[in-house]
């Protein structure tokens, strides 16, 4: 929800306060939690980019992780195999994801819902196969490790600050895009593609552009992942990971902007912290999911929003 005029200042102050707290984190948090925060930011950025297509665009984006992986691989390969300036490598890698999103989107947007999702899943799996098999270039299933990243941004706190800055900028950009006429029309398409078409919207073109935008920011997240972890590997584009991102969106609230970020925070910390105590953390996750579906079908933030602002919001399914 865009802040309304009166309280804009309030929101701005709150946002800045959160930012400052986050920026101070490495000073007082143990190293591991700084790392974990960076991981949450990256995963959250990734989930938010997925949600641009999923929650705001209504596209069943079943294999979003491909763009994540391609971003990570592009930057790793450029850093390892070429002598290009490092800044250039970081900057161009997300465009590789965007180009892939354009190509895959071009084929997929002709279909809708489950068919779209499945076609994307198959195409994504083809990309995965190529990465998985092309040993001489991508390192095959072993992946690429020890990517040479300048120590300024590869140390725990350095990578945290880099991640924080890049993800805040990216989130800001996505927020602007979603609240622009483009984003408004995108949401209309989500609600009702046929109707959108009859008011003069070129639905396919709109969806294609959305794919490119979502793919681009997924690529950014991929680049950040390499900065923090120093590795790229085929797991980054596996369909199970895609499903995990999807769950984050649904968990946090897929019709809200910050929902995916919250979902990512919940899942990443659950995975890390519950994983310490039990191998069966997936069961804990499953139970949380079931409770969520029964009691909070709009996700956590969606529920809070409905609770505070819009008791009249309709959950009627749009076919």
């Amino acid at each position: 929800m865009p802040p309304d005029g009166l309280s804009r200042l309030k929101w701005f102050t709150l946002g800045m306060a959160v930012l400052i707290v986050l920026a101070l984190c490495p000073q007082f948090l143990p190293r591991f939690f700084t790392y974990l925060l960076a991981l949450i930011l990256i995963t959250g950025l990734m989930a938010t980019s997925l949600n641009v297509a999923l929650g705001f665009g209504g596209m069943y984006q079943f294999h979003h992780a491909v763009f994540y992986g391609v971003g990570a691989y592009s930057v790793s390969l450029m850093l390892i195999k070429t002598n290009l300036p490092i800044a250039l490598c970081f900057f161009t890698a997300p465009f590789a994801s965007a180009v892939l999103a354009l190509v895959m989107g071009f084929i997929c947007v002709r279909l809708s819902k489950l068919y779209f999702g499945m076609l994307q899943l198959s195409l994504g799996s083809l990309v995965w196969v190529v990465v998985y098999r092309w040993y001489s270039f991508t390192g095959g299933d072993d992946g690429l490790h020890g990517v040479p990243i300048p120590s300024l941004i590869s140390s725990v706190s350095g990578s945290f600050y880099f991640t924080l800055i890049v993800s805040v900028v990216s989130l800001g950009l996505m927020y602007v895009i979603l609240n622009s006429p483009f984003g408004q029309i995108l949401q209309a398409i989500r609600d009702n593609p046929e109707r959108s078409e009859t008011i003069g919207v070129h639905v396919r073109a709109h969806q294609l552009v959305t794919q490119v935008i979502a793919g681009f920011f997924a690529g950014v997240a991929g680049v950040l992942f390499v900065t923090v972890e120093g590795s790229a590997f085929p797991d980054l584009m596996s369909w199970t990971l895609s499903l995990e991102f999807l769950i984050m969106c649904l968990l946090g609230g897929w019709f809200t902007f910050l929902g995916p970020m919250l979902g990512a925070a919940i899942i990443v910390s659950l995975r890390t912290m519950v994983g310490v105590y039990t191998e069966y953390w997936t069961t804990v996750l499953a139970i949380i999911l079931m409770l969520l579906i029964f009691f909070l079908p709009e996700g956590v933030i969606g529920y809070l929003e409905g609770f505070f602002k819009r008791p009249d919001v309709s959950t009627e399914e749009d076919r």
């Binding site: 084929i107 499945m118 083809l126 499903l243 069966y280 499953a286 079931m290 029964f294």
Partner: protein, 298 residues
């Protein structure tokens, strides 16, 4: 590396038959998925887990009977029934409250089920590999066109048509099949006519899951029974259902044929890239027939 492969006609035929026996399992599993998807509109990700559960149950029952032939037949019969009972419990306890939710939510829900089944299998059966011996009459191989062909695969080949005919009978000739088909097209209308849709849905769900369990039980003697069986099969089953046409049982057969045969032929013709074939087949089908090969029910 230097090598040359000669592809003989006999080899091709052989490969074709082998592909068919693989198709059988794929068909049984994906037809169940398709049924659930078509009538209940549930993209059941946990279908693969039920398949895995079928295999594990089959193993346990057979071991209980000391791996005797009778035990094997019992296992083949009882394992899917066990799976059906579990699915009935989940349907009545959980799913039946969720039918009006969005597809994505149902997908998520079945994913949660998949996680639970996965951990449950790990808890109950542990992490060791299991292996089941087929009865003596199915051990070894028969020569077909001068090439040894496993007897068990022949048995599988004969099961496929039986299941297909059974499904055809069920959907076309029985009352419940007719109601289910009508419900797939317009569920409100069926409810309005005064039929208890809820129970129709439950029985369709159970039948679909029974098929998953049957697939798992049948496949148990040919491979090692282990966690992770669910991952491979569910992906393939979904792709098959999609290229066949959502909810269309015959589509599932066609899709399974395409999938099984491109796979086994790919192994023969371009063995180094066989991993690519099924995905490529799906992409090609969807580019030319975006809604699948046969008519989808939704």
């Amino acid at each position: 590396m230097d090598f040359s492969t000669t592809i003989t006609f006999n080899g091709l035929i052989q490969q074709f038959i082998v592909g068919l026996s693989r198709t059988t399992i794929l068909f049984i599993v994906s037809s169940g998925l398709s049924l659930v998807l078509g009538v209940l509109r549930i993209p059941n990700v946990a279908h693969g887990s039920l398949y895995m559960l079928g295999a594990f149950l089959c193993y346990s029952v057979a071991t209980l009977f000391g791996n005797s032939p009778i035990g094997f037949w019992f296992a083949i019969l009882l394992a899917p029934i066990g799976v059906a009972i579990i699915s009935l419990a989940t349907e009545r306890g959980l799913f039946c409250h969720l039918y009006d939710r969005e597809h994505l939510m149902l997908l998520l829900f079945t994913f949660a089920l998949m996680l639970i089944f996965h951990d449950a299998v790990k808890l109950i059966w542990g992490s060791e590999y299991r292996s089941l011996t087929p009865p003596v009459i199915f051990q070894g191989s028969l020569p077909i066109l001068g090439m040894p062909f496993p007897k068990y695969n022949l048995f599988l080949l004969s099961i496929g048509p039986i299941v297909a005919v059974g499904l055809w009978f069920l959907t076309q000739r029985t009352k419940i099949g007719k109601i289910a088909r009508a419900a797939a097209v317009d569920r409100d209308m069926v409810g309005a006519v005064g039929i208890n849709v809820s129970w129709v849905f439950a029985s369709v769900f159970v039948i679909g899951c029974f098929l998953a369990g049957l697939g798992g039980a049948l496949v148990a003697p040919t491979q090692n029974i282990t966690q992770g069986m669910d991952h491979t099969i569910i992906m393939e089953a979904f792709l098959i259902v999609i290229i066949g046409g959502l909810g269309n049982v015959w589509g599932a057969l066609l899709g399974a044929l395409i999938f099984g045969l491109t796979d086994s032929m790919g192994i023969m013709i371009l063995p180094q890239f066989s991993i690519v074939f099924p995905y490529a087949a799906v992409v090609i089908v969807l580019i030319f027939r975006p809604k699948g090969l046969l008519r989808a029910t939704w």
